[in-house]
Symmetry: C3
Subunit: 164 residues, 3 copies
């Protein structure tokens, strides 16, 4: 019974998108879940990996195409853009200002908060392999790298699974 | 037992997107669920709030940036655009014509239908706060405003939870 | 008990998007699920239908607007584009090269694999109706056409349901 009760508490989120607005939605849900006593894991894949990349330092990837991709797709929580109304950065800048205005946490603060609340941050090994992202590209809050099978294992036991 | 049977019947949908096509998908699922006897709730957040804004009347928000945002991001079911092939409105117009052609309901009709079938329409308080959307911006079919914790509470008990 | 155990094994995915990257994510999850012994179904709708359209042959749809739509929105696994960094096809071409480089399956190979592993591929009747897509537009791996009620019926019994 105790185990079953624990199962009910799991929330797993695939974070596929690297948009600022979707990252926000994911972290709002993750931290809300954690504060409600749920066991939360976030599985970052494809563009979502940008959210948990370090903001500083250059990526060292092998091969010309991977170098190009990682130059264009640099990532880092401070480089995320809105999925709508980015307007060459103006809309994104405005949204960040509006969030500050109502004392809302930034993505950086959300990552720290989530980590401190025990939310597991996991980077997808497959995406890293295809895109040539080295393991040291990620911030210290990232718990581990794992594949789709790991996510599905978590999701099977979860009460709520979302793809963002 | 009765309670457990009831739990199985819940369907909760986060409607994050404000695209016409995704709004359609959300309402098709919500009304299908309701007609199958499920207890359905739709939780509108970020751009998804545009779907349930009134089509007429001006938004009164405070501060220059929020005024600008709410001018650009006016919303209302009749202003939604396709996520693909919008082509300055031509694609969206075509899609609406095609839907009418096969006697398919419009988003306006879907909102009324969903409401009449008992689907709960909820607007996200957090997004409203950040974007400065006043409560009277929403149509009468909207049941209430609530936060992420409310959604997770519903999702925990739901058989199916989707993020659209 | 046996029936309950079977329920736990279901994974259902709505594939709404027709982007190459999201199609990849969907097939990685579907084939991982199948290899873990789950019963997997994929429900293709709206732009997601492009993924399972035949790569060759012209679509015969009725009416000028549907002909135009199906000309622009031709589809087929080999015509899918990245949701980001498509860059007039260069980014998409690069991503395909990177996948080949690490011996990763193409979407075509994933469709075949999924089908052979028993993943059910279902096309949404409603989208076909609105967009005027004839039944013979789909590849042979597609099992059947069905509506939203079918998906919800599967999702109700599923342990994991995702909207991609």
């Amino acid at each position: 019974m105790a185990e079953k009760a624990k199962e009910k508490e799991k929330l797993t989120i695939v974070v596929f998108s690297g948009d600022l607005d979707k990252a926000l939605a994911a972290f709002i849900l993750a931290t809300s879940g954690a504060s409600m006593g749920m066991e939360v894991s976030m599985f970052f894949t494809f563009w979502g990996l940008n959210i948990i990349k370090k903001n500083k330092g250059a990526l060292k990837s092998k091969g010309l195409m991977r170098k190009m991709l990682n130059f264009m797709n640099r990532g880092g929580s401070q480089r995320l853009k809105l999925s709508r109304f980015n307007m060459l950065g103006l809309g994104t800048w405005m949204m960040k200002r509006l969030m500050k205005d109502v004392n809302y946490p930034s993505i950086d603060e959300f990552i720290t908060m989530a980590h401190q609340m025990g939310v597991k941050l996991i980077a997808c090994t497959t995406s890293c392999g295809i895109m040539g992202i080295p393991e040291d590209a990620f911030r210290s809050e990232v718990d581990s790298l794992a594949g789709a099978a790991y996510f599905l294992g978590e999701a099977r036991e979860a009460k709520v699974s979302l793809f963002i």
